[in-house]
Each structure stands twice: as C-alpha cells, then as structure tokens.
Amino acid sequence: MLARTLKCMDDEALLERARRGDRDAFAAIVTRHQDELYTMALRILGTPADAADVVQETFLRAYVRIPVLRGQTIRAWLFRVAINCSHDVQRRSIRRPADPLEDAEGNIVELPDPDLGPEATALARERVAAVREALLTLHPDFRAVVVLRDVNELSYEEMSAALRVPIGTVKSRLNRARSMLAKALRGTAAAPGFAEENA
C-alpha cells in the first residue's frame, strides 16, 4: 500500500519525504530513475559493469546530499551527477569494448521484434552495434549531450541543468554532436540506404 502511494508521488514530494528521513521515499526515487541513468551511463561508457557502478555511485552521492538539494529537479541533478561519475570512470579506465553477452542477459528491455525475419533481425542488431560504436568515437562532452537528448529524451532545460551550460550552448553542442555522429555512421548499417544497397 505504502509502495503504491510512493509510486504515485512526484519527485518533489518524494524528495521532501526523503529529507525528513523516509528511506522508502528515497528508494522510490531510485526505482524510478535507476534504469534511465543506467541507460545513459551504458551509452556513454559502453560497458555494463562501469554503467552499473556509475548508477550506484550516483545514488550514494544523492543520499548524502539530500538535505541540501533544493531549488532544482532531482532528475536533472541525478543526471548531472551520473555524467560526472561517467567522466571520472572514463578518465580512470582504458576504454573496454562493450560486451554484447552482458546485454543479452536481460539488461536490455527492448529486444528486436521477434516477428522480424532473420535478415531484418541481423540488420537491426548491426545497426545497434554501429550506433554504439559510433557513439564511443565522440568526445565525452558531445557523447553526453546527444545521449541525454536522443536516448534519455531530456528537455533542453533539464539538459542545461544536468550539463551546467546555458540552453544556447546545449543546442549548439547538440547540433555538432549529431553531425559528428552522422559522419561516424557513414557506410555503416545505420547509414541511410544501407539496407537497400546490401539487399
């Protein structure tokens, strides 16, 4: 009953309860945002284990900072912390290639449509792999902006708060990042006309 009540509350109400010491309210915030933060970290880092570490670290930092979190949305703040943690991980570790087996073990929510034929399924997988690889070629700042917008669907206002740059900078950086991504995807399965050319 309590869990259902908490599930219906918005972030601000949950945050207010958590500030008063309600651990369940904070757990509800975790449940609500952990998957989108994990998705973001996975697309930025490319490694499931590192992405999970980032999410864990993000919520631990949030837990400590709850008393002073005021005047900002918890979602944007969580993304901001997760981006900083991701950059820390990038600085610390040598880039490791993504392990497709880990993705296949239940971490991916939307698997390719089973109604697709084997060729279409293979092409879809190839597209996903191409985009993931192309993302990892971008500079971390550009990778973050394009992931926040096109993977996590944040608003410009949320992105501005998460990246701590003005909205104008968000838009110009996003345009550059998308152009770079398009360039990186040239000739891959995600490029326009690839399926027709390889049919």
Binding site: R19, R20, G21, D22, R23, F26, A27, V30, Q34, D35, E36, L37, Y38, L42, R43, P48, A51, V55, Y63, V64, I66, P67, R70, G71, Q72, R91, E102, D103, E105, G106, N107, I108, V109, E110, L111, R127, V128, V131, R132, A134, L135, D141, V146, D150, V151, R164, V165, T169, K171, L174, N175, R178, S179, L181, A182, L185, R186, A190, A191, P192
Partner: protein, 317 residues
C-alpha cells in the same frame, strides 16, 4: 559564408521543428535545390533516428543504500551568548577565563599598534576566516576590511553580456537556485595542460543589476555586473591528497594571476578581466590532475545567498 555551412547549423533545429516559419521556408527551399545539403540532412536525420531506436537498458542489480536515514546528522550549532560567557566560563573555569581575557587584551593592543599597516601580507593559518565574508560586509565584497587582502575580495567590473570566449569549450557553471540569473562560470579552452607551461582559465560571477530607469521610459534597464571569484588550483600528488600549488607568479601574462602560497588562490588584480593564467608546475607526470576551483562565499551576492563553487579538473599531457 557558404549556404551549405549555414544549413549545417540549422539541421538540429530543423529536425526538432524549432525553425521560425521564415527559416523553415528558406531551409526547405534550399534542401530541395541543393543535393549535397539534402544528402547531408538525410544522413543527419538517419543517425538521430538510429540513436533514438537504441534499446533501453535495465539496471542489472539492486542499488545498495546505506542502512541509516537519508538525512545527514548535523551537530547542533553552539549558542554563543553573553550569559554563557559571563556565568558558565567564569564559574567553572575562572583561571581559563582570566587567561582568555588577557589574550584578548594582548591581541587588541597588537592590532592597535601595528595590525593596521596597509602593507601587511596574508599569512598561513587563517584561511577559513579570510574566505568568508564578514557579517557586516556589503554584497560583492565592498573594499576595505580584512577581505581586501589577497584572499577573496571579488572585485567588481561593470560589463554587459559577459561570457567565456567561444574557444573555451570546457565549462562548469554554478547558480544560486533562488536566483538562477546569478551564474558562476569557470571555463577553459581544454582540459589538457602541459607541465611547466602556462594554463588559461576563465572565471567570473555574473550578476544582473537593475538600474534606475530614465524618466519617461518603461522598465528599468538590466545590466550585468561581474565579480571575479577566488580561484584555487591544487595538484593531485596521489589518489587522495591534493597539494596546493606553491606561490607562482606569471609576469607578463594577460589577466595576470598570482597564486598565494598560503591558500593556493589565484587572485586576480581588481582591474583585470575574468581570464587568469597560471603556470602548471614543471615535472608533473602525464595524467596528473589539477583541480581548479572558483568560489564565491556564502552571503556574497545577497543576504542568505549560498556559497557557489565551480570546478574543472585539468590533466597534464
């Protein structure tokens, strides 16, 4: 300016349907008549759509939280009252109270006879008091008083629309949630620096100020004033320890900064702009991190305003 380049800049806005009707008409007319632009825009759209089709992922394991309450325990603030001072200390520790009074008299005498010389320099050991504005100091750190030493004076320069140079792509920004227009910006052209070479950072607090309107005009004009924040630079010598840079001067550099050896502050002269140059110590191994922190103390931009801190981590090549 070539039309191709102009269109490149509009791709994102066109994709998001954010162009004005005039821009949109011009954009589509151009795309229809220019094959390279049409191909580039198709490529752009395809890549964004491919990115949006990436499957969502699910956190593979439970997030572990501390078993304690999320609200941090805060020690109660000690109350300092005359009753406590007069009665409690005198009654329980009369010798200590008398010795304390003697020290106060000595300190007052020292201040009267030599503490107010204008050439006094900051010394090690009083950092925390020097950083925070006094309770009676005006916003923006008015000149005079202990704050006008080399710690955190925050000189005021009236400018409008201040922002980092376009080449400063690395940026951290801190705002007062109650007054989002007040922004502390710390920026650098790159996060990579070279040991033994100068490094450049940009740091300033922009504060919108509404001045009196002219008679007969409508709303009061809003200008922007800037405060130059304290900027500290510290070098990470090991994983958990930060060593404050030793005193370094950078003569001849634009926006000359001096790192005060006591506090590690780069203190900009009152007349300088927001650009600061400091010398990265020689002999640092590649990968050494330098933490640059721009800070404005609590209460600096108004009563009850929070402290603002912006950080950048620079790494040596």
């Amino acid at each position: 300016m070539s039309p191709r380049r102009h269109l490149d800049d509009l791709f994102s806005a066109a994709y998001e349907d954010e162009l004005s009707p005039i821009e949109e008409a011009r954009f589509h007319a151009h795309v229809q008549s220019c094959a390279p632009c049409a191909a580039a825009y198709a490529e752009f759209r395809a890549s964004v759509e491919a990115l949006r089709e990436l499957p969502k992922a699910r956190m593979p394991h439970v997030v572990h939280l501390p078993s304690t309450s999320p609200v941090a325990e805060r020690p109660p603030r000690p109350r300092i009252g005359l009753g406590w001072f007069n009665l409690g200390v005198l009654r329980r520790f009369p010798a200590t109270a008398i010795a304390g009074a003697f020290v106060v008299v000595l300190a007052a005498t020292a201040l009267l006879h030599g503490g107010a010389t204008p050439t006094s320099t900051p010394t090690t050991g009083s950092s925390s008091a020097a950083h925070a504005p006094s309770a009676t100091s005006a916003p923006f750190g008015a000149a005079g008083g202990p704050l006008s030493t080399a710690s955190c004076t925050g000189s005021i320069v009236s400018i409008a629309g201040a922002s980092p140079p376009p080449s400063f792509s690395q940026e951290d920004l801190a705002t007062d949630p109650a007054q989002p227009a007040i922004q502390l910006v710390l920026a650098a052209p790159t996060l990579q620096v070279t040991s033994g070479k100068p490094a450049l950072v940009y740091a300033q607090l922009s504060v919108p100020v509404t001045s009196l309107s002219n008679p007969g005009t409508g709303s009061a004009p809003v200008t922007s004033r800037t405060v130059l924040p304290c900027v500290s630079v510290a070098v990470a010598r090991s994983s958990n320890r930060l060593d404050v840079l030793p005193a370094v001067e950078t003569p001849g550099a634009e926006g000359l900064g001096v790192i005060d050896g006591s506090y590690g502050y780069v203190v900009s002269p009152r007349t300088s702009g927001p650009l600061l140059t400091f010398k990265v110590p020689a002999g640092l191994v590649p990968g050494t991190e330098l933490l640059v922190v721009a800070s404005i103390p609590a209460g600096y931009t108004g009563l009850n305003s929070p402290p603002l801190t912006a950080e950048l981590t620079l790494t040596t090549r």
